[in-house]
């Protein structure tokens, strides 16, 4: 089950459990535990079946993303077909394409503008690790996980729609099992979350726009 999904209730649960075991009423605690798990299941199921992606394409991968959303592959079968034009209304950022250093700052800003809970799929080789720009792309960021926490990486150049759908299903599995929170926490512990592109104030031209 989805452990730690509702942290604010954990303390309450512990206090009730300790009180009730002291009273010898462990059945009450067990029932509470079950209820919370059930609520947890409801919330995560709702979330994973209504992931609203941010319509946000950077390069040729966006063409495949559009194909995934279109009728033949129909991403809406998985509840993720509602592409929103605003980061304020989106849960899922599909980074589809090459992320340059200049765009990296904007990606980070857009990610900050999305409301929690939020997830990121790095689509294609460029967004995963720089891909074809690995050696000679002086301007390309070597992976978008240098600025935002990535939940699932979709390999390919560009990935076929099936691959993106697979990444989406994988992300849904992660949300179901609570692994997405572990990934997010691990990213925030890592040194990648502390580079200046992530933490520095935005440069002048970003502020002006």
């Amino acid at each position: 089950m989805n452990e730690g999904r509702i942290e604010e209730f954990e303390d309450l649960l512990h206090s009730i459990r300790s009180t009730s075991t002291r009273l010898g009423e462990s059945a009450v605690a067990m029932r509470l535990d079950l209820m919370l798990k059930w609520a947890d299941w409801c919330i995560s199921t709702s979330r994973l079946n209504s992931l609203w992606p941010f319509s946000f394409g950077l390069a040729c991968c966006a063409i495949e993303m559009m194909a995934t959303a279109a009728s033949r592959f129909d991403m809406d079968r998985f509840g993720a077909g509602v592409f929103r034009a605003s980061p304020r209304q989106a849960d899922l950022m599909i980074v589809a394409g090459t992320v340059t250093y200049k765009m990296g700052e904007r990606v980070r800003r857009l990610w900050h503008q999305m409301p929690e809970p939020k997830w990121v799929i790095a689509m294609g080789a460029c967004a995963t690790n720089g891909g074809p720009y690995d050696l000679n792309g002086y301007h390309v960021m070597k992976g978008v996980d240098l600025v935002v926490p990535v939940d699932v990486y979709a390999p390919g150049c560009p990935p076929r729609p099936e691959s993106l759908l697979n990444a989406l299903i994988k992300l849904q599995d992660n949300i179901r099992t609570g692994r997405d929170r572990q990934i997010r926490a691990a990213w925030e512990r890592s040194r990648w979350s502390n580079n200046t592109l992530t933490t520095a104030p935005l440069t002048k031209d970003v502020q002006n726009n």
Binding site: K142, T196, L197
Partner: protein
């Protein structure tokens, strides 16, 4: 359809500007060489001639460039290697006569600088910013000459032949070290 320099246009420019216009060279893609000081006057004159559209403005770095001799040329006489310079090339199109010409300005590599033509063709504004961004060509009289593609705090001119790739941008390494280990370790422990 390649670029063709009609002899009449060349003669008109030559009589108007004299020494500022280079020799007429018959090559596969002919161009008219213009002295950098008079490019704005030449451009204005070309616009009055009917070249109302600036199709492209770009720069070339000829450092280390090799010339492959065309089959028409004499094979025994090797062409001299081009001088190391930065060239700014203007491709003009006339929407009335469907005539196309190319102007070329050769500049010193150490401090390339020439007058802007953005007051004549508005499209030159962004093209000149791009040439400035990639080659460091400074256009005098440009309304806002700043980098257009690279971040504002980028160092160096990326499309110059002697450009050294940066090792990092801010503190993000250009070469990614294979030490995402700490990220994975956290996963394995759990």
């Amino acid at each position: 359809m390649g670029i063709t320099v009609s002899k009449t246009v060349y003669n008109q420019l030559k009589t108007q500007f004299g020494d500022a216009i280079g020799e007429y060279i018959e090559t596969a893609s002919p161009f008219i060489e213009v002295k950098s000081e008079s490019i704005r006057e030449v451009a204005r004159f070309c616009k009055e001639l009917g070249f109302d559209s600036l199709m492209c403005l770009s720069a070339v770095d000829t450092k280390g460039m090799k010339i492959s001799s065309s089959p028409q040329e004499n094979k025994t006489q090797k062409p001299a290697p081009p001088k190391e310079e930065i060239q700014v090339v203007y491709h003009l199109n006339s929407t009335f006569t469907r005539d196309k010409i190319a102007l070329k300005v050769c500049l010193d590599r150490t401090s390339p600088r020439l007058p802007s033509v953005s007051s004549i063709w508005g499209v030159a504004n962004w093209h000149e910013r791009e040439a400035y961004d990639m080659f460091g060509v400074i256009f005098d009289g440009h309304p806002a000459l700043s980098r257009i593609l690279c971040p504002e705090d980028w160092e160096g001119w990326p499309l110059r032949k002697d450009y050294v790739f940066p090792e990092r941008y801010h503190d993000v390494e250009h070469k990614r070290k294979p030490s995402g280990a700490e990220f994975l370790d956290g996963e394995k422990k759990q």
